[in-house]
Symmetry: C2
Subunit: 251 residues, 2 copies
Amino acid sequence: MEQQRITEYSHRYFLAPGECTPEGEMPITLLLTRIIEVATEHADMWNIGYSTLSADNLAWVLSRVSIEMTQYPKVNRKYTFVTWVENTNRHFSFRNFKILDQDGSTLGYARTIWAVIDSKAREIVDISRFTFLKDVVSDHPCPISTPSRLLPVADDHAKKHCFKYCDLDINRHVNSVRYVELLMNQLPLELYQSCFVKRFEIAYVRECLYNVEVTLNVDSSTNDVRLEIADDNGATHCRARILLEPRSSEL
Amino acid sequence: MEQQRITEYSHRYFLAPGECTPEGEMPITLLLTRIIEVATEHADMWNIGYSTLSADNLAWVLSRVSIEMTQYPKVNRKYTFVTWVENTNRHFSFRNFKILDQDGSTLGYARTIWAVIDSKAREIVDISRFTFLKDVVSDHPCPISTPSRLLPVADDHAKKHCFKYCDLDINRHVNSVRYVELLMNQLPLELYQSCFVKRFEIAYVRECLYNVEVTLNVDSSTNDVRLEIADDNGATHCRARILLEPRSSEL
């Protein structure tokens, strides 16, 4: 079926006022929501989406996300996500995204790395079973750098947090977007008014559980902010990077 | 322009897996997001939407929301929001919603009350200036009861909360949906697994400010849970009601 094997998939959206940041832009959290949505839609077209996999207790999970933007979609404008798979191996699918403004200009790119987990066995499964994946790889360019190494973060004033009901997704895991929201919330409003997020990276290491206290380590001593969510023993749940750039240079 | 004066507006959506609750249903928070979205779209068609009003520093704000559902939209299904204005007066617009499943069956209704505020003067403006509003009132039935009286809530174990960056909307107010999320998070996961939210009500009284500590009063002694967000002096920011019904009676 030709329709199921298209290598590039795109979805056009409209940025409603109710979805925007105080700066009238698309928030990183919505950007990640759209990444997950269009990835799911594209996988659905290949019959390896949520419905097919969940019948076998399998689910795609995000391992890494790197987003780099020159501008964000703006209020009351249309924008488009284009997605394609750059590469796959036994464990991971490397899926990229291009984000375009309604006039067709490029706003930014994202790189993501996905795995498939067996939710009963709680382990990563071999995705070479999806034999056609190697045939749908696209050579669409993605001119942003691959994920950088995210080191542990020290913080003498670490805060505590508990994920609650609205943070949980359909698999009863903490929704990938909620980690990002929590991390973004560690920086003050004034900083987002003077700077925009030039690059955002997150590495999901080990899931947080409902109502279990976690520790938030933040190093915001430079514009290259490093963040980590860890458990009480210091083991990492996720690490992230928020690279800020002054807004004046963009406008 | 005939097109601008249609009394009923509808928008069809698809419930993606990434948007669902652990129960595989549409969350109340997304339901409210859609309410705000289709209300904005309908107002846009009448040229009294976000773009037009924001030029005069005006904005529609939610005063009351009452939602009553027999079922929620389910994962990987389409659903439709239909909206119309039931009534208006000098201060408020009474806008209702019907939520339909993809097979056309009724899932529930919502009643909302909106005001227009002048964001510079920080006061409610007279909406009788929108003279055509009285001509676009619809007699579409809305068979759920009007908002009930929400009394103050006493709580000897009140928690504290601070709204952060990701809670802010384009007007730098706490997003209406974020109050609901915070309130829903006061009840445990197990309760949502055994019960569904039959009716949800919220009265927005006075906005919360960024990074200012508020108090959460919750009375969950019955299935008719009462909640309140108040400031340190006990003045109300909002009051809400979560009426739970055992799931067994629904399935």
